[in-house]
């Protein structure tokens, strides 16, 4: 864990921490009655733990870790479908490395690869395109996974494949969107949320307006933030000041990267290639309306669901979570990871049982990696 003195700009960090403390006192936030701020993005969760920001800020501020880690919200059924496609002899299945260890009901992609399926980790959908060009006799499938940050790249890859008439390339599209699960959490009467830290890189693509409903309809403040510790602290301060002033607005702390209206080229590519699914399943959160994207019929030739008859289109396939795992409760901020009976026992980053343990952006993995002391604290 890093402390404020180790920050690049310790003076600035200390000044912001002091202002956070002053405003927290002004609004009467205490350890017993804290202000609940959800950081939506898994990258922010990771940064908060890496720098120990949750311990550095005033004790009346509690971070609730949001659903913004795409690997963590991937249901087992989707992993099973990946394995099913990957095990076809003609298929070269390509995926971001993050997805390799997510458990499915039968096996993870890692296990499927060990069992002989041709599964390759790629850095980019462009690598998958290149594989398709070089292997015309194989079916190259790319696992489209992630929020609006990665969605445009898959859309642009499909457009490129269409321009080239590459018939042996397709995408297994499981892209999801950020605003819809936030709405679902705000509609959940059990959730206590006082404000949000908005994702930086998702917002770089979609802009800040998709969050307007949070301020307008739910009267909650949100500040879109960058990834440096100082960015995060400043966004916490922005949210607290809004609460103090009785304001609810969408503020942009990361304006140096996030344009108000997003990235026009990305948005156009996404609109051209994708349409919303009526609903989509999230691990731990269940079905959420309009929260997933599928490939439009005009691009059906590049849709792995159409090509192989596997996926969301092929009918409901709900699979129960493994016994004794509390992923859903952790995901909705009801309990801390350390309260899960499997934490550190049946579930570790080496042998994950739930997906929150797989990626460094998952809350359980972050607790495990940086919170050894906290785990003991909680056990005492």
């Amino acid at each position: 864990m890093k402390y404020a003195t180790e920050f690049r700009d310790p003076k600035a960090a200390k000044a912001v921490l002091a202002r956070i403390a002053a405003v927290a006192d002004e609004i009467g936030a205490t350890r017993a009655a804290p202000v609940h701020i959800m950081e939506i993005c898994g990258g922010h969760t990771h940064a908060i733990f890496r720098y120990g920001l949750d311990k550095l800020v005033h004790e009346g501020i509690e971070f609730i870790h949001g659903p913004g880690c795409p690997v963590c919200v991937l249901p087992m059924a989707r992993v099973d479908e990946c394995v099913e496609i990957a095990e076809r002899p003609e298929v070269v299945f390509t995926t971001f490395g993050d997805a390799m260890r997510v458990p499915g009901t039968r096996k993870s992609l890692m296990q499927a690869k060990a069992d002989g399926a041709d599964i390759r980790m790629v850095y980019s959908p462009l690598d998958a395109l290149e594989l398709a060009r070089r292997n015309p006799d194989r079916e190259v499938v790319f696992f489209g996974l992630g929020f609006e940050t990665t969605t445009p790249s898959t859309a642009l890859a499909i457009q490129q494949a269409a321009r080239e008439g590459l018939e042996n390339f397709s995408v297994f599209c499981n892209h999801i969107t950020v605003p819809e699960p936030i709405k679902a959490l705000l509609d959940d009467p059990h959730m206590v949320l006082d404000g949000f830290i908005g994702p930086g890189h998702v917002s770089m693509v979609i802009g800040t307006h998709p969050y307007d409903f949070i301020a307008r309809d739910y009267a909650k403040p949100i500040a879109v933030a960058g990834f440096e510790p100082l960015d995060l602290l400043q966004s916490v301060l922005m949210v607290l000041e809004q609460i103090r002033d009785g304001r609810a607005e969408v503020e942009n702390q990361y304006a140096r990267v996030v344009p108000e209206h997003g990235n026009p080229v990305s948005l156009a590519a996404m609109a051209d290639v994708y349409e919303r699914r009526p609903s989509f399943e999230w691990r731990g959160l269940g079905e959420i309306d309009a929260s997933g994207l599928r490939i439009r019929p005009v691009y059906a030739a590049y849709d792995a669901e159409e090509k192989f008859g596997v996926g969301y289109a092929a009918g409901p396939r709900n699979v129960a979570e493994p016994e004794g795992c509390a992923c859903g409760q952790v995901m909705t901020g009801r309990i801390k990871p350390t309260a899960c009976p499997q934490f550190g026992r049946g579930c570790t980053p080496e042998m994950p049982l739930g997906a929150l343990m797989v990626s460094s952006e998952g809350a359980c993995a972050a607790y495990w990696q940086y919170g050894g002391a906290r785990a003991t604290e909680a056990a005492e």
Binding site: K2, G42, A47, R50, V122, L126, L145, T150
Partner: protein, 96 residues
């Protein structure tokens, strides 16, 4: 996978496909620049961009690039991105 990594665009490789060579922490890789093409592609050479899974998604200044890279190194994400690039290269060569 969700956090981009800063890279400097050093050459145009394929104008029709909107591809350029970017240097990321000393590693060179081809990236798509469609999303930041607000000028003739050749004029992007020398610019810094946030690169996400092989796509330049936003132009940033050199100072911001340096700060972001430092934060990513702290988080271990810079290393992860470079390893992913290497894995991608291996996948193309059919060795992974």
């Amino acid at each position: 996978m969700c956090l981009g990594i800063p890279g400097q665009i050093v050459a145009v490789t394929d104008e029709t496909r909107m591809m350029a060579l970017a240097e990321v922490s000393g590693v060179r890789r081809e990236v798509n620049v469609a999303c930041v093409l607000d000028r003739p592609i050749g004029d992007l050479v020398g610019e810094w961009a946030l690169i996400h899974v092989g796509f330049a998604m936003a132009l940033i200044d050199a100072d911001e690039a340096a700060k972001t890279l430092e934060a990513l190194r702290d988080l271990g994400e810079a290393q992860e991105a470079l390893e992913a690039m290497e894995a991608g290269q291996k996948a193309l060569e059919g060795q992974s």
